[in-house]
């Protein structure tokens, strides 16, 4: 049997994507369709998760639990964390942009396993609906996204079991996606294209997929054991039956610390694509970027116990994991200095994509600094399980990954639709998001340092004023979604026509029409051996079809 791409099989390859929007609701095997399915589905869950966050911040406006009962608050925070991690950030930074871009970058017409790809996507909506529906059926899980036993064993079982099923489905989707990315990047490269000539996002996705394949199955096994504890009353993690809760934490964080890199490494890759194009400079330090990604992959697998410094970890373990965690700052720092060096002296066009990328750099450095601080045992023991941790990881996953998702949407929107997004609305969106985000999460550092515990609906009244600041920030973040949504919809209908390559980019996805034809290129895929060759004279750059208004030129 040969795996020819059966989908649509256009006899005239000249035509652009021929069919209507209904194929976005179908079992399409086209990687571009699947990428957009991931993106739109993920954004819908982002709105749900955002509404849940709004409920949390509304509850925390006052020190008593008046907006919702305590157990509902627990359900809401569990759903918020699970939705945002497993249904928004992981599927979007990996599935959405990975599926859309990786086949272009390796010069292929589709992913290595197109049908597996579609299966991986279509596991997500049912899993998400299952998770959300648990709230309405029997009450959702109440033990947070970490589902630590014994809490997850003593809270109502039905919600917890549905949570486990949902996360298992999402983990399966993630593993299928990871296998597909590894095979596509390593095996499906256009002949003549070497690994060290690939755009940086390929390396980021290769590293991420290695983490997915190595760590996600451990979470799956752990959750199966947890479900046995709940359903069959075994005692793996139940101290009352001779079990060991710390083993659960080790196994859980063996996945869930790499999960942080599964969420931010692709974002690193996307920023590395966006910045050179809009600064008209080559990506600084390509080789060091590649090695730092791989260093982060290796180190990311051996730092998990820094989440468990207050779980009775022995001193040698604390020492090892503190040192290993501190080491991760080195490759991460290399990447940040490389981005700054890419920006340095460049002809920067401060459009929405670059603004969000720079916002990412600022936020992620702040989150990284608190991360290094949290890796130090004496400090961590003090602020463990306080709002300091909440502030830290929101600076990583929202200030980092979500800012990059928005930057990427502004950057690749013309590729997908053939139209530009409105710049004024985009900058307004950035302003609201950046101010709202920092107003929401910066004060939480102070709250944590002063001892406000996380995951509790009620708090000491002395924290009320700062919590209200934080809630105002959350409101700004909610409002910031409106200009963005309006921008996406209005620009799709009547945005400025972008032309094929509005940014004058050299990465392969721009060297075809916008939107691209079904099998990506009308002829043979171009061989792009230096995707960052900016700075060479314009007449030496072979761009077949440069058209449309581009912001960097307007900015000259």
């Amino acid at each position: 049997m040969t795996l020819t791409v059966p989908q649509q099989s256009p006899p005239a390859p000249q035509s652009l994507q021929p069919t209507g929007w209904l194929r976005y609701l179908s079992f399409s095997v086209d990687h571009k369709v699947i990428g957009l399915q991931y993106l739109v589905c993920g954004f819908a869950f982002y709105l749900i998760g955002g509404a849940l966050a709004g409920a949390i911040r509304t509850e925390l406006v006052s020190p008593i639990s008046d907006f919702m009962p305590r157990d509902v608050y627990n359900q809401v925070l569990t759903l918020h964390g699970t939705v945002m991690i497993f249904l928004w950030i992981v599927p979007v930074v990996n599935g959405a942009f990975g599926n859309y871009l990786i086949p272009f970058y390796v010069g292929a017409r589709d992913m290595a396993f197109p049908r597996l790809n579609a299966v991986a996507f279509w596991l997500i909506p049912p899993a998400g609906l299952l998770l959300i529906s648990s709230y309405f059926i029997t009450g959702a899980a109440q033990s947070g996204w970490t589902a630590y036993p014994p809490l997850s064993l003593t809270t109502p079982a039905s919600g917890q079991i549905i949570w486990i099923l949902s996360v298992l489905l999402l983990g399966g989707s993630s593993i299928f996606g990871g296998i597909n990315f590894i095979a596509t990047i390593l095996k499906l490269r256009r002949p003549g294209l070497k690994l060290m000539q690939l755009p940086m996002y390929c390396w980021a996705m290769l590293g991420t997929s290695i983490l997915v394949v190595l760590s996600t199955p451990v979470l799956a096994g752990t959750l199966i054991m947890l479900s046995f504890d709940i359903v069959a009353h075994t005692g793996f993690f139940n101290p009352g039956l001779g079990g060991n809760v710390v083993v659960y934490q080790h196994l859980f964080w063996f996945y869930s610390h790499p999960a942080v890199y599964i969420m931010v490494l692709p974002a690193f890759g996307l920023v590395s694509e966006i910045l050179p194009i809009h600064c008209r400079k080559p990506l600084f330090g390509y080789t060091t970027m590649v090695y730092s990604i791989m260093a982060i992959v290796v180190l990311g697998l051996v730092v998990w116990a820094h989440h468990m410094f207050t779980s009775g970890t022995p001193p040698w373990m604390r020492l090892f994991f503190t040192i290993a965690t501190a080491f991760i700052a080195v490759p991460t720092g290399i990447k940040f200095f490389n981005w700054l060096a890419t920006l340095w002296g460049g002809k920067i066009s401060l459009n929405s994509a670059v603004l969000f990328s720079c916002g990412f750099i600022v936020n992620f450095v702040l989150g990284g600094i608190t991360g290094v601080a949290l890796a130090q045992v004496p400090f961590d023991v003090h602020v463990h399980d306080t709002y300091f941790v909440v502030a830290h990881f929101h600076y990583i996953v929202y200030g980092g990954s979500v800012f990059v998702i928005f930057a990427s949407i502004y950057h690749w929107y013309p590729k997908v639709t053939g139209r530009l997004m409105n710049e004024h609305l985009g900058r307004f969106h950035f302003l609201l998001t950046f101010v709202g985000f920092n107003l929401c999460f910066a004060p939480q550092h102070w709250l944590g340092l002063n001892g406000m515990p996380r995951r509790v609906a009620e708090y000491d009244p002395q924290f009320q004023l700062i919590n209200q600041f934080s809630s105002v920030g959350a409101l700004l973040m909610a409002i910031s979604t409106l200009p963005f949504l309006w921008n996406v919809i209005a620009s799709a209908l009547q945005g400025e026509i972008a032309g094929d390559n509005p940014w004058n980019a050299l990465t392969p996805e721009w060297l075809t029409s916008s939107p691209p034809p079904v099998e990506n290129w009308k002829g043979e895929a171009p061989l792009v051996t230096n995707p960052y060759a900016y700075g060479t004279p314009e007449n030496e750059i072979d761009l077949n079809s440069v058209s449309g208004s581009d912001l960097w030129r307007n900015g000259q």
């Binding site: 296998i179 095996k187 499906l188 394949v213 046995f228 001779g242 079990g243 060991n244």
Partner: protein, 200 residues
Amino acid sequence: MTSLSPQDQVQEQLEHHEAEHPDHRMFGLATFLVADAMTFAGFFAAYLTFKAVNPLLPGAIYELELPLPTLNTILLLVSSATFHRAGVNLRKGCNERCRAWLLGTAVLGLAFLVSQMVEYFTLPFGLADNLYASTFYALTGFHGLHVTLGALMILIVWWQCRTPSGRVSASNHFPLEAAELYWHFVDGIWVILFVILYLI
């Protein structure tokens, strides 16, 4: 694959690349098996940690009997060899012999499952009795699930290569090779499991 000069290989790659979707299913399966191995690694790590830090009450300690699991190990190792013979015969075009070896492999796999059930029913502890009992059943049960799936795959391949022009044949031996790789993997896991669970 026959040996080609490097230029020919690049040329063939190019033609292959343009003509049809290249077949990387074996690579994908191998990657999946790495993931699957990590699931087992998680279980093994949990088992060893429990053993190291959670002492059992003296009354709950039970020495596992060795004869039956040793027989199981031999069954699986022999079945790996018979599966290999089946693959060799299929590539030579000897479908009947291939099917005989496949059937032998499936019978060995099913014998393993039966023997495992016999062990389950003779053990003096149940799933939820204590930590080791639970971990023992989780590990062997998860492995048994793999053996069951593998045996089903063998029977499907056995059915599909019943004629030389069937879906699985000398010209399309990927399904057999995929099932074979999976089977060897499951056998390898058993050897590790045997050492960790029964011998240590």
